[in-house]
C-alpha cells in the first residue's frame, strides 16, 4: 500500500511544490494521479521514491520509507522519465546493470524484455531508440524486480495509439495480479480508461480522491442545445436558473436535465434542432475541480 501523509516540500524560499498532501493507494488498484503542470505530482512521486527529501510529513510504501525497504527494487517498480538511459548502452545491458544492483534475478531481464515487446531490439543501443521504445524500456526496468507496487510518471508520453492501448492492457493485467499502480498523467482521456480511481491535486494540495464514476457524478452534466431562436431560449433558460454558455451556433446548458430544457423550450414555443446530453468526462471533473481550487 502507498500512503502519503501531510507531505510538504518546498524548493528554495518561494516555491511550495507540495503542501500538506495526503492520500492512499490500496493493493490491486490502478490509481490515476492527476493535476495541472506544476501541481506537485512529480515531486510527490520522487519523495515517495526517496529521490527528493520532504520538509515534513511522510510518504511510505508498505509502511516504510523507500530507502528503508528491504530490496526496494523488488517491492516497488518506478518509471519516472524516459531519459534515464546511457545512449551508448544496449537495452539488455541497461537492464542487466539494474538487475545486478537491485538484486533481481538475471533471467528476469529477458522476461521483461518480452513483456514490453522489446526482445527484438534488446541488443540495440538505447541512443537509437524512439521515445516510445524508451518508455517500454523504462517499464521493463520497473518490472525487473517483479514488484507489488508500480509508480509511473507520465508513462504514456511518446507512445503511439497502439502503444497506449498496449500500456493500458499491460497496466490492467498487472493490477489484476494484485499490484498497486499509481500512474500520473496529463492525458486524461487515457487515464479514464485505465484507472479504478483518481487522486486530483492542484498547487501541491489535495483536491479530490475517488472512483472515476463517483467523481463524474459529482460534477453537473451539460446539455447541448441548438435552436433557430437561440436568443429567446437563452433568456428562458437563464430565467429558470440554468447556466448557459455559447458553443458555436449551439448553447451549452449546465445545471439542468435535457427533459427540463425540452419542457422550457416547449412552454416558450421555441423550436429545437438539437437536444444532446453530454456525458461528463474525467476531463470535465478535472477542470471543474482544479478551476474551483484556483478561484
Amino acid at each position: 500500500m502507498i500512503a502519503v501523509e501531510d507531505l510538504r516540500k518546498r524548493y528554495g524560499k518561494k516555491t511550495l511544490a507540495v503542501d500538506g498532501l495526503s492520500f492512499t493507494v490500496e493493493p490491486g488498484r490502478v490509481v490515476g494521479f492527476l493535476g495541472p503542470n506544476g501541481a506537485g505530482k512529480t515531486t510527490t512521486l520522487r519523495v515517495l521514491l526517496g529521490l527528493v527529501r520532504a520538509n515534513s510529513g511522510q510518504a511510505t510504501i508498505n509502511g516504510k520509507r523507500y530507502v528503508d525497504l528491504e530490496r526496494p527494487f523488488c517491492q516497488v517498480g518506478a518509471v519516472l522519465e524516459a531519459s534515464g538511459f546511457h545512449p551508448g548502452r544496449k537495452a539488455r545491458n541497461h537492464l542487466r546493470v539494474l538487475a545486478r544492483a537491485g538484486h533481481a534475478p538475471k533471467a528476469r531481464v529477458d522476461e521483461v524484455l518480452k513483456i514490453v515487446g522489446l526482445e527484438g531490439a534488446a541488443n540495440k543501443r538505447v541512443g537509437g531508440y524512439s521515445l516510445g521504445m524508451r518508455q517500454r524500456l523504462a517499464l521493463a526496468a520497473a518490472l525487473l524486480g517483479d514488484p507489488g507496487v508500480l509508480i509511473l510518471d507520465e508513462p504514456a508520453n511518446g507512445l503511439d495509439p497502439e502503444g497506449i492501448r498496449w500500456l493500458r492492457d499491460t497496466l490492467r493485467s498487472l493490477a489484476a495480479e494484485g499490484r498497486a499502480v499509481l500512474i500520473s498523467s496529463h492525458v486524461l482521456a487515457e487515464v479514464e480508461q485505465t484507472v479504478d480511481e483518481v487522486v486530483i491535486i492542484n498547487k501541491g494540495k489535495f483536491v479530490a480522491h475517488g472512483s472515476v464514476e463517483s467523481l463524474t457524478r459529482s460534477v453537473e452534466g451539460r446539455v447541448r442545445v441548438r435552436s433557430p431562436q437561440a436568443a429567446k431560449l437563452e433568456k428562458q433558460l437563464a430565467k429558470a436558473g440554468l447556466k448557459v454558455d455559447a458553443d458555436g451556433d449551439a448553447l451549452l446548458v449546465t445545471g439542468g436535465a435535457s427533459s427540463q430544457i425540452g419542457e422550457i423550450a416547449a412552454k416558450s414555443q421555441v423550436v429545437l434542432h438539437e437536444l444532446t446530453p453530454i456525458a461528463t468526462q474525467l476531463e470535465d471533473v478535472f477542470f471543474a475541480l482544479t478551476t474551483e481550487e484556483q478561484r
Binding site: V52, A78, F85, H86
Partner: protein, 253 residues
Amino acid sequence: MIASLSSEWLKIRTTRTIFWLLVALTALVTLFAVASVAGEHKENISSPHNQLDLLGIGFLALLIALIMGLIVSTGEFRHGTITPTLLATPSRASVAISKAIAGMLFGVALVALAEGFVAFELAIALPIKGVDFVIQAGPAAGFLGRVLFAAALWGAIGSGIGLAIRNQIGAVVGCFAWLFFVERLITAILRVHAINSHAGRFLPLQATGAVLNTGTRNSGDLLSHAAGMAVLCGWMALATVLALVLLGRRDVS
C-alpha cells in the same frame, strides 16, 4: 554494496567510452615511448634508472583513470541514469563508495595495461636504438606498485569529484585546469610569497610526483614515497567525503 559495485563495474564495461579511452591511452603512451627513445641520446637511456623513468610514461594512464572516474560519475547526471541507479540502490553512501571502488579498480587495470604496453614497446624500441633493455625486476616492481597505488587513488578521486560537481564538462575542464595550471600557480604563489615555500608538496599532483619519483630527477622539493602516498590518500578521502555529503544531501529531481 557488492551488488552495487558489480553493477558499477558492468556499467563501465558496457559503453564504448572504455574502448575510446583505451585507444587514446595506447596512442598516448606509444607516442611518448617512441618519442622518448628516439629523441634521447643513447647514454641518457642506457642505465636501469633512466629506463625506469621511461617506464614511468605509463603514468599518463593516471590521467585517463581520473577522466574515467569523472565520466562514470558525471555521466549519471548527464544521462539521467542517477534516477534508476538510486532506485536500484537507494543508499547513496553505497552508490558513492561503489563508484569510488570501481574507479580504483578501473584505474589499476588501466595503469597495469599501460605499463605492460610501455614495457613491451621499450623492449622492442631500445634494442632497435642499440641500447640493452636493463630494467631490473626489483626497482621496477616497486615503481609499478606505487604507480598502481596512485592509479587507484586517481580513479577514486575522479569518481568523487564527478559526484560532487555533476556537470561533466565542468568537472573535466576543472580538473585539467587544476592539473595544468592552478596547482602550479598555487605552488608558485606559495614560493614567491614564502608563506610556506614547501606547502606545494602537499597538493595532489606534487604528491603524485613524490609517489612516482624514481630518484633520478631533482626531488628536493618532493615528499618521500610514503608521505606522498599518505597525502594522496588524504585527497582521495576528501573527494570521497565530499561526494558522500553532497550526493546524500541533494535532491535528485
